[in-house]
Symmetry: C2
Subunit: 346 residues, 2 copies
DNA sequence: CCGCTTCGTCGAAACGCTTCGACGCCGATT
DNA sequence: AATCGGCGTCGAAGCGTTTCGACGAAGCGG
């Protein structure tokens, strides 16, 4: 492997000159530059990332820390990653994903403190998240996806759940629905302080109240069976329901299955809206689901851009931004039929 | 940030002694070791990864290169990643995922040649894959998931598709099915040299032939609509079919939907087996799918272990290994009813 | 035509660690 | 008693860059 020395020797210049050609930190004449570039070409020279990082105290590597549970990454998370990777790459940075689970806080600390990462984007932030504390103590530039309860002094990008729920409810109410059930994540998930679940819950209550409607909410396990059970519970609690708004992407297939099982048709008997769902998943269902599509790739891009800004101007202001999901109307919503317009026929 | 120098000074030993305590490269007396460890503790010392890497010419970082398309990572890939991460972590290595798309070959070369990665695991390998060539030229220790057409001189771990298909077909034939249709990925995907699709296709032909049955195969786009269309085509080609074996995890929901749409019940009228499918996805369907479950986490672990072996003994033999998927019987398969036992009633 | 920038280049000193050769010490071997 | 080999430790030489101060050569206004 050729080093800078070899290049310098071949081009008959000093090592520092080669470095300046590479980094542009000082002006170099065209003639010299050409000589150096030719030498690099000839030797297939590639700078050694470690040496560079050591000397400049910048690795040009950004970390994207994502807990990897067995669920896998949906299209939403993937869009997020690709958006972030593209933005990093455009700025000349590498983006590496590190699958840090919740348990290995020490691992996290080590990773952050070894000065291998110039900055870090943390995904799936909980309302009370120790990882944030660890990262702040390690003094590494940090941007969150999602937010903790107390966001003072933190930079984050997150989905505007308030707005998203309002829009979803608005869509259903606009179609004529009055009895709308909200299917959230499980009670256990809520208890862990999972922000999206809690925020959408509050947003749902307030949106429904604003329309003068009563909010009905059900918790569902993250599984098809959980969705089934939730729908049963929903009918027990509100027999005349005509629409379901579901936060739980995993449970939604169970909900649809159970609806079919009860001889109810979507969207004629019951309308279904899926929250924070990718088009890919929405199209899997029959009929395709009307859904609130998350701005995945934009979130990723914005997070990285904010992070890069922190690297340049360390004293800069925090970046705090919310993006709503977009309503995409597909086949699972329609005006309510039976119970509303024709009486309780079914 | 404290350096080794600071630790050495505080512990009143030389820098090299501190280093030996850390790496264990030479014996150090218990007394000295304790002094050093105490000093480290007091200063919150953390070794600088760059400096370490530069001096030792080992980064202790392994790369997992995965193309990220918009589809997202299924539970299968996720299991793979977590298996790999666990194995790497156990050996004191970091595992970073790098989302390298197909297009950025130069990006790949740069990544591999900058000596930041001690070794690399490459996922989603095609039969003819330029990335493999690039990585080989960069002279970086390499293990593939999947295989190229010519595997000489390469290490890989892959699914034993031959065996997996044989088992799936065996299951269906054992239940009494004779007319079995195989739904593969799209013709376009086949044309790109996507190994799993090609290998399962061949395996299906040979397995069916061994049973004295005629292999019927349909290509399906990777979407629910594709699955629908494929099922229609299947019925056109083999009206008396009683079982579907599907390689296309995305299309399977379309297949199920179309089956229901035609008034056919699963598994009573038609049995369905899904290939290389995670339990999570299998449970999404109603009824839950009988599936061939991929050995995701084991694949990841084995790949990393093989890679680590390469790092230690560079001259060592190649590691080439195939693992079959496990048959998990759920609700989507049963003995054929109507057409076989009761004549063509439906 | 003289001093003064500005430009382009060089040499050397970091950056924080690993690793090699050397050395003193001590107990064991002849 | 002289010799030997381990053990534990030290000092110094890298690893391949970046970056800083210095310096000669032009280019400029006066």
């Amino acid at each position: 492997m050729a080093t800078m020395h070899d290049v310098a020797r071949l081009a008959r210049v000093s090592v520092s000159t080669v470095s300046y050609v590479l980094t542009g930190a000082r002006p170099i004449s065209q003639a010299t530059r050409d000589k150096v570039l030719a030498a690099m070409e000839e030797l297939h020279y590639q700078p050694n990332a470690m040496a560079r990082g050591l000397a400049s105290r910048r690795s040009r590597i950004l970390g994207l820390l994502m807990p990897m549970d067995e669920r896998g990454l949906g299209a939403t998370e993937t869009a997020f990653v690709t958006g972030a990777a593209a933005a990093a790459s455009a700025a000349g940075y590498h983006l590496v994903l590190s699958p840090v689970g919740g348990g290995d806080l020490d691992d996290l600390r080590r990773l952050a403190t070894q000065r291998m990462l110039d900055g870090v984007v943390l995904m799936e932030v909980q309302l009370a998240d120790e990882r944030v504390t660890v990262l702040q103590e390690a003094d590494v530039p940090l941007v969150l996806i999602g937010r903790t309860g107390d966001t003072s002094g933190l930079s984050y990008v997150d989905i505007d759940f308030e707005q998203t729920v309002r829009e979803a409810v608005g869509h259903l109410v606009g179609l004529g629905h009055r009895r709308i059930v909200y299917v959230n994540h499980s009670a256990a998930t809520l208890a862990t302080g999972y922000g999206p679940a809690l925020r959408t819950r509050d947003a749902f209550v307030s949106a429904m109240t604003d329309h003068g409607l009563e909010p009905v909410m059900i918790a569902a396990e993250d599984s098809a069976a959980g969705g089934r059970a939730a729908l049963a519970a929903a009918f027990a609690q509100a027999p005349e329901l005509t629409a379901v708004l579901a936060m739980n992407e995993t449970a939604i297939f169970g909900i649809l299955g159970e609806l079919t099982g009860r001889g109810l048709s979507v969207p004629d008997d019951v309308s279904v809206v899926s929250m924070v769902t990718s088009p890919q998943v929405a199209e899997l269902a029959t009929p395709a689901l009307t859904a609130m599509t998350s701005p995945g790739s934009a979130l990723g891009r914005i997070a990285i851009e904010a992070l890069l800004r922190h690297l340049d101007g360390p004293g800069g202001a925090r970046h705090q931004q919310l993006l709503p999901c977009a309503l995409e109307i597909r086949g699972s919503t329609a005006a309510p039929r039976s119970r509303q317009l024709m009486g309780a026929d079914k």
